[in-house]
Amino acid sequence: MTTLNAGSHGDHDHHEVPYLVGKGGVWATIVDWATTVDHKKLGVMYLTAILALFAIGGVAALMVRTELLDPIRTGPGGPDDVHGWMFNVGQLDEATGERKYTAATANNTYNRLFTMHGAIMVFMVIVPGIPASLGNFFLPLMLGAKDVAFPRLNLLSWYVYVTGSIFGVLAIALNGVDTGWTFYTPYSTTTDVGHWRVVYMILAAFILGFSSILTGLNFVVTVHKLRAPGMGWFDMPLFVWGIYATAVIQVLATPVIGITLLLLVFERVFRVGIFDPSLGGDPVLYQHFFWFYSHPVVYVMILPGMGVISDVIAVHSRKPIFGYRAIAFASLGIAGVAFIVWGHHMFASMSEVGSVVFSALTFLVAIPTAVKIFNWIATLYKGSIALTTPMLYALVFLFLFAIGGLTGLPLATLASDLHLHDSYFVVAHFHYVMFGGTIIALLAGLHHWWPKMFGKEYSVLWANIGCLLVFVGFNVTFFTQFFMGTQGMPRRYASYPDEFQLYHQISTYGSYVLGAGFFLHLLVFIHSLVAGERAKENPWGALTLEWEATSPPSEHNFAHQPMLKHGPYDFDLAVPPYWKASDWPLPDKAEVERVRLSH
């Protein structure tokens, strides 16, 4: 049971300088970060960009929800008898030079806002999300490596991400697009004629796809080739398994959306008839192409999150994850089945036989997902559970993701999906899994690894209050939407019949609480960076290799190549790095042997 005392070498060795320390003046630091191939700096830059774009997409969502409090509608007095209010960009009247504000422009603004929300969140936040930030930072550290397999490729990935995001922001700055993030044809090929912003948004997604592919490729090779001596596949932390399964999907699935988006641009610009029936094309073909990627991509979104949760639960219960191999194989299984269920997004437009086949296959993917949830809860059994902020978020994850997963069942079931498809029920379902799943897991991971990343502590009290606000706000916002959906409220509606108004109002007020929770987290993070206490090297007593590095890690991560001496969750066998044996009571060795041998 070796613990690596990296800190004892002293600061005279420049390799021990934390990666965050600047190398000279302001300009030198900027150049250093702009040209770095250090996975940690790239991870921090990704994290900053992702959180900033999350804030922008979140503001768009708050605007959407605010408009739905009391949408524009005309009353019995005719077109001038307008009720409600909303954000309305209006339309320039070329003849008079005045701006017209009508129901059409109000709805159009709404449509652009919800498209902006979806496009930013999916393409720029959640898909890169955990892999680009926490994955980049911790994959090499967890494997005991100095960096990823292709550090310069990693830098390229970052700049491709920046370029794609700039295209997206450009499209939004030009007043945005109103196609929905799904770009269904023929609407997306025929709307907004004479403007280029739809093309820019499509190209943004196309470019961002390459960032995803290159990162995925990098991670696959890293996991195969850069593990520390002694680390077999089943000695890796489960976060690595999550990242690995994600990377495989990214490499295989993303090219399909790339081609699809390119074809979409050709159709718009050159009027090639692939998807538009007026040119001889088939709109449902587009849906098949689109969802062939966009279904696997939701597993790209959730698998890293599940990896985070596995590690957080294990560490904060000081217990090996129950069913390690089951979770590892379930991750790969989910990645595999992800590719054969895309049709469940199209039950209302696909052939009957196709729908039946896809419904059956979709149930298949529910099984490894459910097994993981059982494993996590079983890990808590006979654990030593500390209700730290990461653990609170992991419990919130279990709660919200369970609801998200269970509400997927009526959507996989054909008889009920024909009612619920394209309703608020679906909106609630995917927010529970993407937001209540991935984003909550990101928060869990951030609070878990923050001391390691930045060497600073954060205010536990205010972080926990933030967690409470997020949890309450989230449920009020989105649980209400299940009821709206079953009662007939369609999605992407700028206004609605009166009977839905109370639900919308409850949902909107919930979203304000949710926003407040995130704002509080932002303040906690900023305060931590500016005025936080110095963090301990291994505050949680974790056993995986990243905790052997200093907090924050030095430029090359480790002073010496770490050698693996124990499994990632052997809390009953090993004293964690930076902990004294006297502070880490171990159970009776014979007892440990007996229990391990009996299974």
Binding site: P277, A326, I373, F374, I377, L398, F399, A415, P490
Partner: protein
């Protein structure tokens, strides 16, 4: 049972009479209006109860463990096994069996929803941005609209269907993807521009204590209010079902709404026989305006919406265009309906209007022209602006 292939959908020939069934009513699902609707509701409720049970068990265990196994500083976690083959197999196999049952229930309900009855009636439905048009096979279309304040927006067409009848809708879109959703029936189907899709439902008997129809007098500009030609339907019970568009299609996606109104059989038959002859041409035109044009064209003075206002438009001389002027006569109106991109009114350059070629036939165009005359001071009693109708519209 005979199974035939019609338009690539399987059609069951079944001679059972349509029974009346009680309208299901879950407070969070709403009334279930078709015979197959209960499949959706039972599937949903079954899964819901199962989910609640699983959720309570899982969260219960989670909270219980978190409390019972709270960390005690200085004490290690008790030693326990890190896997248990029997348990893991059990919790894989048992949920799998439950999912198989769910799939089967879903499949059976789906078959009921997708395979239409062969008896009953068929209606052709056209979807376009942003309206639903039902073209009855006997030539009728909607003769009534929801007043604007019911949806708090544009007028919503009401389409009558008889009770206790199987109805098949053969649907096509004129432009982009739409989706026909009747929440009360619990099904939807996408409506596409390149091929027909079929949506079917069977209506229940109208309960005698249902709401009753009212037919108020009709306003015509410049004249006394006229008594309603549908006074024969006054006091008749009915049941309404919302139709929503469920595939995003642009600015007025949320207002692309219709109502299916179920009437007692004899009253429906009266309406079908009398509908088209009942209304004078300009009132037919007003209905067509409400269902097809009102979203973009106002009838109020000077109100510019997506398209120009029709107030005082008919018969206007030297009406301003982007390129030149035109006298607004029958020919110009017909051209604007069938080939709207040919000329643009001033201030509307490049604004795309979907052509109504194919959905508004010559009779309907004339009805709209008749209605436009009632909105304009330039129209004389005979309706002509002084120019022979068969001379093409000129731009000067």
């Amino acid at each position: 049972m005979n199974i035939m292939q019609v338009n690539n959908t399987l059609v069951l020939a079944d001679n059972d009479a349509v029974a009346s069934w009680p309208l299901h009513d879950w407070w969070y699902l709403g009334k279930g209006g078709a015979s197959y609707s209960h499949w959706s509701d039972w599937a949903f409720m079954g899964i819901l109860y199962l989910s609640i049970a699983w959720f309570v068990v899982l969260m219960g265990l989670m909270f219980y463990f978190v409390v019972k196994y709270r960390r005690v500083e200085g004490k290690p976690a008790p030693v326990s096994a890190a896997h248990n083959s029997k348990l893991e197999v059990a919790w894989t196999v048992i949920p799998t069996l439950m999912l198989v049952v769910m799939f089967i229930v879903g499949f059976k309900g789906y078959a009921e929803m997708m395979v239409p009855r062969t008896d009953g009636m068929e209606i052709d439905v056209v979807a376009q941005k942003w309206s639903w048009t039902f073209n009855y096979r006997d030539g009728n279309s909607s003769t009534e609209n929801l007043p604007a304040n019911e949806l708090s927006s544009q007028s919503v067409p009401i389409y009558y269907v008889p009770e206790s009848t199987a109805v098949r809708l053969k649907m096509i879109s004129k432009d982009v993807m739409h989706s026909f959703w009747v929440p009360d029936f619990r099904t939807k189907i996408d409506v596409m521009p390149n091929r027909y899709t079929t949506y079917w439902f069977d209506t229940a008997k109208v309960p005698s204590d249902a709401k009753k129809l009212r037919f108020p007098p009709i306003e015509v500009r410049g004249e006394e209010p006229k008594p309603n030609v549908f006074a024969a339907l006054d006091g008749v019970p009915y049941v309404d079902h919302w139709v929503f568009c469920a595939e995003y299609c642009g600015d007025f996606h949320s207002e692309m709404v219709a109502v299916i109104r179920v009437l007692p059989k004899d009253k429906y038959d009266w309406w079908a026989a009398n509908a088209s002859s009942a209304l004078p041409l300009d009132q037919q035109g007003q209905k067509l305006y409400l269902n097809n044009c009102a979203t973009c064209h106002s009838i109020k003075e000077g109100q510019k919406l997506t398209g120009p206002s029709w107030y005082d438009l008919y018969g206007a001389k030297n009406h301003a265009l982007e390129d030149g002027v035109v006298d607004v006569d029958d020919n110009y109106i017909r051209e604007s309906i069938l080939n709207p991109g040919k000329r643009y009114a001033k201030g509307y350059k490049g604004v795309v209007m979907t052509s109504f070629a194919g959905s508004l036939d010559e009779r309907k165009i004339n009805a709209i022209i008749a209605y436009m005359k009632t909105l304009s001071k330039h129209a004389t009693k005979e309706g002509e602006s002084g120019k022979p109708a068969d001379k093409p519209a000129e731009s000067k």
